[in-house]
Subunit: 415 residues, 2 copies
């Protein structure tokens, strides 16, 4: 089945807002073995929408359109859909009732006459319910193509895609192949190293393919098995995943959509340990990521962003001697910070980072990107020097990832 | 001039990576008064690239293609370009020398035979120099359309766009109109309020247009003047910007690309004041944003992420009485935290936040999204309760923005 997406919006075509709907739709469809062939983006211009629908219609069995269903005058998709398919635009009672009910439910919204515009849909179309917003979607069939029209708001769109569009499309796919995928998330090795570690795992001729996707600084590897039956796909996938996991070992921190933060949180909860942080160059970003997880107060005690030497002395008990002899960016300072925060906060683990995020502040010995990370625990204190490449933001991100990954590896080793 | 963009890549069409090149190109072209009419995305598939070029060629005077110029077998753009335009693919000596020189310059890269593939370009094309990478771009003219081919790496693409593509396109625009824009960044009012405040400022019939773009939680308004001459555009723009600034008043925190963090940093530097933070529900995100700015150590002393009550008592001196009588999420606790961190760190300003980021932890009195922000300064201490709507992440982002905006407003009032 040949599928295209069309995103409509001046803010998209002008580059003010990045279109994420097309990617979300493609990724979601791929889970069901459906591939999008092209994405098209046009502005809020009736002629452009009409010609886009016409062109895509010629080469697609299904077109998923997002955007331009809103109540304001620059929302033109319904009218363009009617023109492009030779239909009239009529008020749909059910859509009108929905828009009115939803408007009165949503706070800060007044039911205004404009909302009736959202109830105008082309004749010979079926409604697509929108549980999260005022504008219903609709779908129709024209010259052999199914056309689906959804609002551009991602949270509304995704539900309508999942609940109506995908089941409808799947029901029309003649000989469905079963597709099973497993994704693993890695931190540490570079793409070329992952490529080498996974050599020979993919067997495309048997329907087993491998994708490697780098989203700085992590790598996602996805193994995808395609077969005639559910059992066939599983038989293909399971042994390959086992081999993949063995080869990737501790580089793999999670599977699917589980984040590094989630993994670390889960380990802390299981081990009933309390954490405190002392951050210098990462400026609070580690604490921010730890507390991204609801319920983090169960294992996170406190985080000290000790930017100044004064704060390192006052809050962490780092001595003048360490600061004067070795400097604030040193192995000695990092371990003093980690031990200091562990002791002062009475936590099980104290993690500290100190470094030079750049662009200024580096020296020949310690250029920008030099970072010391230290972990103080009941069974010892470990400190390591890292040299990260990149701009200020990248150095801070790498520092944070490395620190979280270190916590993960330490916690994994404890029973 | 009708302009289209084409982004090529399996990772884009599958939704693994969001295409940002198309938006970057459109936004950059718009600064010079050139509008993109459509964006198209296709995968690494020769037939799809050829048909995309053919279709876009029919409706565009210029096509800017990104992606698929790399050294690996799935980079097919050059070959597709040659086929689509009836040219042969030949090794271009200058491109080959460039690829070799760059490869040896870039670390961790070995000159391999594959790189010669990057030097294969269609006949009757002109090179587009790439100062930041191995693959040169090229451009050619086919059936009345200019086609530009650039690598997909954003940092390489943008330089080639700016230095070669845009000057070339502008030299071919017959009667160039002068365009001047001014953008202001706002925090606080909603889109409808901004709309009302700016009523009547745009005069499209005279060439003065207004765009409002919401990027949660800030709003960017852009005024754009188009005229035959430089003076004409300036005369149109300057008085309108003055009126706009007067109406928006203190909601406007910066213009152009200056961030809220930059604005606050600049004010701190000018006033020679030192800041310390005590964060609960924002979990270090305020400290992170303050320290995003290089040189922030000049005005940022320390940040305490006091997640537990124990930490609030130990580090900030919040009394048991306050915690037991009013709770950790209260006006009393927030002001005790702000005063506590100001005193303990010996800073000029102490800013504190405490609240319920959610989704759990709320009560009828204090539902999720309840946040207290307090600012302790030499001339007083102010505390305010906010009720933010949204999920955990949104509540934390709004808390951070509101806190930074409060610092900005306070600093503006001090001479």
């Amino acid at each position: 089945m040949r599928i295209s997406t069309l995103s409509v919006g001046d803010e998209l075509i002008c580059g003010q807002v990045t279109d994420t709907n097309a990617g979300t739709i493609a990724a979601r469809l791929l889970e069901d073995g459906l591939r999008v062939q092209r994405h098209l983006v046009v502005g809020d211009n009736e002629a452009d929408i009409i010609s886009a629908l016409t062109e895509l219609g010629r080469i697609s069995d299904a077109i998923i359109v997002t955007g331009g269903l809103g109540p304001t005058v620059d929302d033109l998709t319904s009218r363009a859909a009617a023109r492009a398919t030779g239909r009239r635009l009529v008020i749909h009672e059910e859509a009108r009732n929905h828009a009115r009910t939803m408007s009165s439910k949503l706070e800060n919204l007044i039911v205004c006459p404009l909302n009736d515009k959202q109830a105008m849909i082309p004749t010979k179309s079926a409604l697509i319910p929108n549980p999260n917003g005022t504008a219903c979607g609709f779908h129709l069939m024209h010259n052999g193509s199914f056309m689906f029209f959804l609002p551009g708001v991602p949270a509304e769109m995704i539900v309508m895609l999942r609940e109506t569009v995908i089941p409808f499309v799947l029901s029309r796919v003649p000989s469905k192949r079963v597709i099973r995928t497993v994704s693993l998330n890695l931190f540490g090795p570079c793409e070329a190293e992952v490529d080498e570690m996974l050599l020979g795992i993919a067997r495309p001729e048997q329907g087993l393919t491998l994708g490697i996707c780098v989203t700085f600084p992590r790598i996602k590897v996805t193994l995808r098995a395609e077969a005639a039956t559910d059992d066939g796909a599983t038989d293909l996938l399971v042994p390959a995943v086992r081999v993949m996991r063995e080869r990737l070992k501790e580089y793999c921190y999670s599977s699917g959509d589980v984040s590094m933060e989630d993994t670390v949180a889960e380990l802390f909860r299981e081990r009933c340990l309390m954490l405190s942080l002392a951050e210098s160059c990462s400026g609070g970003l580690i604490a921010k990521r730890i507390t991204d997880i609801p319920g983090s107060s169960r294992y996170f005690c406190e985080g000290l962003v000790t930017y100044s030497n004064h704060a390192k002395k006052r809050l962490l008990g780092v001595s003048d001697e360490v600061l004067n002899t070795f400097g604030a960016v040193s192995s000695e300072c990092a371990s003093a910070m980690a031990k200091g925060v562990r002791l002062a906060s009475d936590s099980d683990l104290g993690l500290a980072v100190t470094g030079i995020a750049g662009p200024d502040g580096g020296s020949e010995d310690k250029p920008a990107g030099t970072v010391y990370i230290s972990l103080a625990a009941p069974d010892g204190c470990w400190t390591k020097r890292f040299q990260f490449n990149g701009n200020r933001d990248e150095v801070r991100v790498l520092t944070t990832w490395t620190a979280l990954d270190w916590l993960r590896r330490y916690l994994l080793k404890r029973e």
